[in-house]
């Protein structure tokens, strides 16, 4: 369905945009219908940049993003509008996704104005209620309210409901759980799982390895804009091959294992401290297939892959 091919993004940096920063470097992957692909990386790894390029919020510098056989970079006008009927994004901070001056339902009204002008009031209402129901929200609880009257979890679910109104086929979920409290975030995560079983493809962008491993079918680990490991989630987490993936996994705080126990299990080096000096990691090498559906970037044995 979605195919990202050797995609690069360079940002202009410096006083007059004189130099380039390569934020995403030759990234390729696919998302199939009903598949959740987790894009995991630390800050600055380019994970959000990839999401924004898929949503056409940023231009691709090199490479291509293909949706249903068509390159999205050339879409304009009506064709672009049709693309957005298939692909939508939900972002990290639900509070800043709404205009605080207007009621929260304005996001639905705008959608109706753009895409569903032909629907009668009653038809629209039942469609809206159906999609709110799909994200387990009670319409009476959330309609006609201002954003500050709703909880973060409710706002985030309304944004997902908004995307569902369009019968989208791909959802770009950029850190949508990170702002939510522990007791409610799992419900939003389960919701994504339910949507996936209905055939929705999801690109789940996160820095949290626990969340990624819980929900995704395939996992991609990014580092400094390049893919270091890619494959079926069980394989990547069950048999991490790249030293960077291992040290990431060893650093995740676990509830029943101490850091030392994990480290011994994974045979990983403890994370180093960044002293601000040179030594920012060179981006990864070519991906090689280590086992069935499990690719890993080439690395030299001696800590070239050690974290910064």
């Amino acid at each position: 369905m979605l195919k990202v091919e050797t995609c690069c993004k360079a940002y202009r940096v410096g006083a007059f945009g004189g130099s380039e920063l390569l934020a995403v470097h030759d990234v390729s992957f696919e998302v199939a219908p009903g598949e959740v692909v987790a894009l995991i990386g630390e800050s600055g790894s380019g994970k959000s940049t990839i999401g924004k390029m898929i949503l056409r919020l940023l231009r691709v510098t090199r490479g291509s993003i293909v949706f249903d056989g068509g390159d999205i970079s050339s879409l304009q006008g009506r064709r672009l509008k049709e693309y957005y009927a298939d692909v939508q994004g939900v972002f990290q901070d639900p509070f800043s996704s709404y205009n605080p001056i207007f009621k929260a339902d304005r996001v639905f009204a705008m959608l109706r104005h753009e895409y569903f002008q032909g629907l009668s009031g009653a038809e629209w209402q039942s469609k809206l209620e159906k999609s709110l129901d799909a994200v387990s929200l009670n319409p009476a609880d959330v309609l006609n309210k201002y954003p500050h009257q709703l909880s973060g979890g409710q706002l985030q679910r309304m944004l997902i409901a908004r995307a569902l109104l369009l019968d989208i086929r791909l959802l770009v979920a950029d850190e949508i759980i990170s702002m939510l409290d522990a007791s409610t975030r799992i419900d939003v995560l389960n919701l994504l799982g339910d949507l996936k079983s209905r055939g929705l493809g999801i690109l789940f962008i996160t820095h949290d390895l626990n969340l990624g491993s819980y929900i995704s079918d395939r996992t991609m680990i990014l580092r400094s804009g390049a893919v270091v490991e890619l494959g079926a989630t069980q394989r990547v987490f069950g048999n991490p091959l790249h030293p960077y993936t291992r040290s990431l996994l060893a650093s995740v705080p676990q509830l029943h294992k101490t850091w030392r126990e994990q480290e011994a299990e994974l045979g990983a080096a403890p994370p180093g401290l960044d002293d601000g000096g040179p030594g920012a990691a060179a981006t990864g090498g070519k991906l090689v297939e280590a086992e069935d559906d499990h690719f890993v970037a080439a690395f030299s044995g001696d800590g070239a892959g050690a974290p910064r």
Binding site: A182, S183, I215, P253, L255, T258, D274
Partner: protein
Amino acid sequence: MSVRVDGLKVYYQTLHGDVKAVDGATFEIADGEIMGLAGESGCGKSTLGKSMIRMDARMRYVEGHVDLDGAELPIWDDSKMNAFRFREVSIIPQYALSALNPTRRIGTMAAELLASRDVPVDTVLPELKRRLRLVGLSEDVLERFPIELSGGMKQRVVMVLSSILDPSLLIADEVTSALDVSTQRAVSELLVEFRDRGFVKSMIVITHDLSVLYQIADTVLVMYAGKLAEKAPAETVVNAPSHPYTQLLLSSLPEVGVRYSEKRLTGIPGRPPSLLDPPTGCRFRARCPLAFAKCADEPPFAEVGAGHSAACWKVAA
């Protein structure tokens, strides 16, 4: 007993009335103890931490006592507290990453900070440099501006500055939340090292992340809606929690290896009550699967085992 908090109540003043953010907290922290303070957003954990060093303008001290090393902290008196701040009680604030003055070099800022407490910078400088090296920073950072440092580096600078006068109590408010996992681990382990080296006597580590506390804390205090829910050694809280809230919270946390398709976790239905007009009795009652008639009375925060207290009728019974 290094820190002793007794019946502390701190409310927020709003136009609609008092928000009872900390509503009767009683607990102790031993010398050398790292106490984790956990809970969801709005449960009062940051308020409790902040009230022990500085109340902001909206916070109102209602009642209760905080004793540090046998002497009472005058937490209701902003100017009297100055004698204790930085020397006896110090804080690594929630937004430590923005706590550094962007217009000052780190060294200049440190000197100004020390001067404000009448500490000549020369007496502290060698120790400051030594501790910066200990946390993996070269002493050159003193010549740099905050913008030149990464998030993890800024966090370590603030840690060193906050604890440079060897306070008896250090309050670390969400210090690892904004960091990447590998930096988070390194910073967390430094907190433990600061305690081990005696830079600080005891520590309160405030976070919403129980798995970080399991790694570094000796004891964990769980708060819910302004009240204490449970306090126990970290091992007990994680492996044998007694309060239903702690149990449900832990069961909703995904771990690496737990997968949606194999084991579906569930959250806690409902939301915490408003603290503007909290319900009487147990505040977790409306969301608790074990609630029964007696929960309409407030359960005491009572000892249920060695070093283990919980506020729940089902546990006490």
